[in-house]
Amino acid sequence: MVDALRETHRVLAPGGILVDARPDSRVFAYAERTKARGSQRFGLVSTSRAELVNDRASDGAIARVVRDGLFKRRRRGRFWHRVPFGSLAELRLYLWEHLRFVRRARWVVDAATRQRYSNDRFVIRRAVRYELFEATSPDRRS
């Protein structure tokens, strides 16, 4: 990853911008039932252990190239993205097949409630984080 980021710095003009955007594994994703107004939280969804390791590696690589003086941190933020599902079964299948998440949600409603609303529409609401970096000019690198 560090090699790729060094290459990124090489092809960027001095002062150019690097954007790193990816799902934010530092916070839960939420399984929510869509209501006419608003939503009802049904469960919490964690990131899989393997992806947490990958994300930490990515963070480490970014920190390394910043420390090496290739990039300066400029701005960061987060937004929420909703993945829609036609039923609770669809949502469960998605979790089961999606490598990024653990395979099952941690439900915060009881089984009877899940059954009652199983054919409603659901979303997984997850955080996406981004950070913008400015490429330093080669002669300013440490």
């Binding site: 092809v11 001095p14 954007v19 790193d20 930490r56």
Partner: protein, 117 residues
């Protein structure tokens, strides 16, 4: 670099199937969250890990030139086909790895790693 990061070097070039991009945020929504179209307007942009090109194609109308690079040959073929279909002349796609970028020094104003790192 940490041990974990060191291990991950073996994964460089890994990719997820391009079809999964359909479940990602809409490109222009994502761009808006980063600061909007001005970030790429009139710029030379590299979309690194571009997959099927959905992001590169979406920003092409604003950028002066967009290059997309991905190790997935099938995804790049899809991206090229989409670019042709959309009549976009300022977008090019290449198969390649992020560790050896097939571009000269300093040729981009913006590099985007959207769900890539």
């Amino acid at each position: 670099m940490t041990t974990n990061a060191g291990k991950s070097l073996g994964d460089v070039g890994k990719h997820v199937p391009a079809t999964s991009s359909a479940l990602r945020p809409r490109p222009l929504d994502e761009l808006r969250s980063w600061g909007g179209e001005d970030l790429v307007r009139g710029k030379r942009v590299l979309d690194l890990g571009c997959g099927d090109g959905r992001f590169a194609l979406a920003i092409a109308p604003y950028a002066s030139r967009v290059e997309g690079l991905d190790p997935d040959e099938e995804a790049i073929a899809t991206a090229r086909s989409s670019a042709r279909g959309a009549g976009l002349r300022n977008v090019r796609f290449k198969v390649g790895a992020a560790q050896r970028l097939p571009y000269r020094d300093g040729v981009f104003d913006v590099v985007i790693l959207s769900w890539t790192l």
